[in-house]
Amino acid sequence: MDALYVSDLSKAFGGAKALDDVTVSVEAGEIHGLVGRNGSGKSTLIKILSGYHAPDAWGSFQVAGKAAELPLMPGQPASLGLCFVHQDLGLLNTLSVLENFRVARYKAAPLGRIKWRNERRHAARVLESFGLEVPLDASVGQLAPVDRALVAIARALSDASEHEGGTLVLDEPTSFLPRDGVERLFSGMRRVAAEGLGVVFVSHRLEEILSITDRVTVLRDGRNVATVGTPGLQEDDLIEMILGQKVEESFTSGSGSLGGVKLSIAHLTGPNVHDLSFEVREGEILGLTGLAGMGHEAVVYLAFGAQRASHGSVVLDGREIPAHSISPRAAIKAGIALLPGDRLNSSGVGSLPVSYNVSLPVLNKYFSGGWLREKSEIGEVERLIRGLEVRPPEPTRLLGSLSGGNQQKALLGKWLQTHPKALFLDEPSQGVDVAARKEIFSQVRTLASEGTAIVISSTDWEDLAHVCDRVLIFRYGRIVAEVSGEAVSEDRLIELCYSTSVQGETV
């Protein structure tokens, strides 16, 4: 009997097929991996199973042998024995473990009174059966990340426990887990499978897929390209199935004419980053990447002082700034600029004019004779944003009234005019249209050619391959691979991000 069976599932969004005749079956007692690139249809599949999307077409749908109609109504998946734990876990961190258990249940005594004694007994039983030793009254926020994940799973299962069989779907639960936590999560998953439930495990981390699953389904461009047994499966084969092409083995490395070392990061340590050291040369564009949660996203914020680093230093042009004295103010003074990823919360104020936003770091230069020369400010900002092809090039417009791409160009201009010695960019092309993306990267290249050291943190591998001289790949807060010159290709970056065999290798 299948724990979960869905056949011939199709779903299109505005003409683009997200799922195309997909059939998936999960056996009872099996841990079943689900992998694919972003946009391969994984999340659409899960959203249909959880009742969020309605499919365009489907053949049959069964959970633990019971057939049901799609689309599912709210609450219906749980009553069928289908439960989900999403990446964010859905726990309320300020409430206790017991209260979190209670949140998902609706049984109450007359007058809406909660029978806490019964609840307590119930929760204790569930946690115990799960081998989880956490105090019921501890607030969830204080638990270790892995305990939190296990509480979320235990809670999800307790809702479905009245059923014979069923399926637990884990949607990237390991993204924010440290490595030692993953093992405990796995033993929890094995326990669930041993009770005769099916487990669907979604992860980008292929070594996890290979070590825990019995079978794996690979989605590519909305199609199920393979469902294969995991034992004996090689990582390279899996990557090939995900990408749909053979991974090139040989690369020629080549670097352009770069100057001496401009910026070096030494022993930088902070949340998600361990003892990190690297150098950026004059005129070099360096990319930092990895799968979500692997630490590359924190580096520029730590080095800029936006987040506190616990240890390490930043050396720019031979001048050292130790970790404890790095602040955005000190970094800017030293000649570092940061274009943050969260545009309207960290980068520019949407409710203020473009001119205010752009000239903020250089405002003093318009202050002469005790007067802020607004006319010359507006004139200069207009010249600047015209040069960056911001549309419309009107400095008095509110920043928030521009499109994402134009906002980003204007905010890049904000930092370009300070002539930084080093420029950090975090996800510079997120929510940015193709034309603006091109403009942004051509500006970045020009800046590099003038000798600025550039660090781009991104998971857009296409962009990185396009613009970077060198890319560092992160895993668990450390650099595990480096590619440079001709070797920087999208496929190579994807392979390195997913693959584990490249530990510490330098290409």
Partner: protein, 342 residues
């Protein structure tokens, strides 16, 4: 401060095209209406009251009374604009004001301390209170709304304690002269208020510091990542409001010729009403000096007129309370309609 933000009332998505760039299109009529509409309404109620009470309202004496007596409120509100712009509340300004009046009266009037020293001590206490507010708000991270509510209440209690719950009538004549001497028919306090208006207008609109205040208020994280000394700016704003409030207390003691420990409570709501109503005029969407000037006198004109019509006592609270809510609601409406039209 993410839970309560001072600029909430005026809306975060508001525009300012205060100075049109050279050669750009003329601002549409609606923009003028929004900016100067309050002056039109002001003129209208002046005309109505003048017609209704030509003997008492439309007199030079009444004009002088209106301009003179509200100068203290104007000064107090102008100080309050600074933390409001930065995104912090300061609910302690009114109590700080009456506390300062009590202190200066007690020191110079009762204990016959040298007036200059008494004034300096009073102002120093103002700075100290501002530092205390800032320590709790900026260093300890407590909401400014709660902190200043507590400190304000504490100061109000101290005022009663020091004065023995009675009005202190012995104010040195020099202080009375400096505050209320007539110059061209108006008390000096009025000119101080106008001078402070110019100062606030200059700093807010014509210096980099004014811009920095706005950025800290509208996007604290953005300001921090742009290298602004955000904590110093927030600290400074709370010190300024307390210092200006203690200056207002000196003026109040001089203008009235006495120090009333309970005077502060009747100033708190008017100050906030004037600040928020002022933020819907002249530079809509931004706390601004001249908008505040207009708002203070607009509100007091309405109240004076109503009182001359015979509605006394209770009408003041009704008017100020109503004005505060209407001002904040107007600001919100303007902000949303602008956001939609773009």
């Amino acid at each position: 401060m993410s839970d309560i933000t001072a600029s909430t009332g005026t809306g975060s998505a508001t525009a300012t095209e205060d100075e049109q760039p050279a050669g750009s299109v003329r601002a549409p009529f609606g923009v003028y209406l929004e900016r100067y509409g309050i002056i039109g309404i002001w003129a209208l109620i002046v005309i109505i009251f003048s017609l209704l009470r030509p003997q008492s309202f439309a007199t030079l004496t009444n004009l002088k009374t209106i301009l003179g007596t509200q100068a203290v409120l104007l000064v107090l509100t102008l100080g309050l604009l600074v933390p409001l712009t930065v995104g912090e509340f300061d609910l302690s300004v009114a109590s700080m004001m009456s506390f300062a009046a009590i202190v200066v009266a007690e020191l110079s009037g009762v204990h016959h301390l040298n007036l200059v020293i008494s004034i300096l001590v009073t102002l120093a206490i103002g700075i100290g209170v501002g530092l205390l507010n800032a320590f709790v708000v900026v260093r300890l991270g407590v909401s400014s709304f709660i902190t200043t509510l507590g400190i304000g209440t504490l100061l109000g209690g101290l005022s009663y304690g020091i004065s023995g719950s009675v009005t202190i009538g012995s104010i040195p004549s020099v202080l009375v002269t400096v505050a209320s001497r007539d110059v061209f028919g108006l008390p000096l306090a009025f000119y101080y208020g106008v001078a402070l208006c110019f100062l606030v207008w200059y700093i807010f609109q014509h210096t980099p510091l004014g811009r920095h205040l706005v950025f800290v208020g509208e996007g604290r994280e953005i300001a921090r990542l742009s290298g602004l000394p955000v904590r110093r700016i927030r600290t400074g704003s709370l010190i300024v409001s307390a210092l200006v409030a203690s200056f207002a207390g000196l003026l109040q003691a001089g203008v009235v010729g006495a120090a009333d420990p309970g005077a502060g409570t009747s100033f708190l709501l008017p100050a906030f009403a004037a600040a928020f109503l002022g933020s819907t005029a002249i530079r809509p969407g931004r706390f601004n000096a001249w908008g505040t000037f207009v708002a203070v006198y607009f509100l007091v004109t309405g109240i004076t007129g109503l009182e001359l019509l015979g509605y006394t006592g209770w009408v003041q609270d009704v008017f100020y309370g109503g004005a505060l809510v209407i001002a904040v609601a107007l600001g919100r409406l303007v902000a949303t309609s602008r956001a939609r039209s773009r």
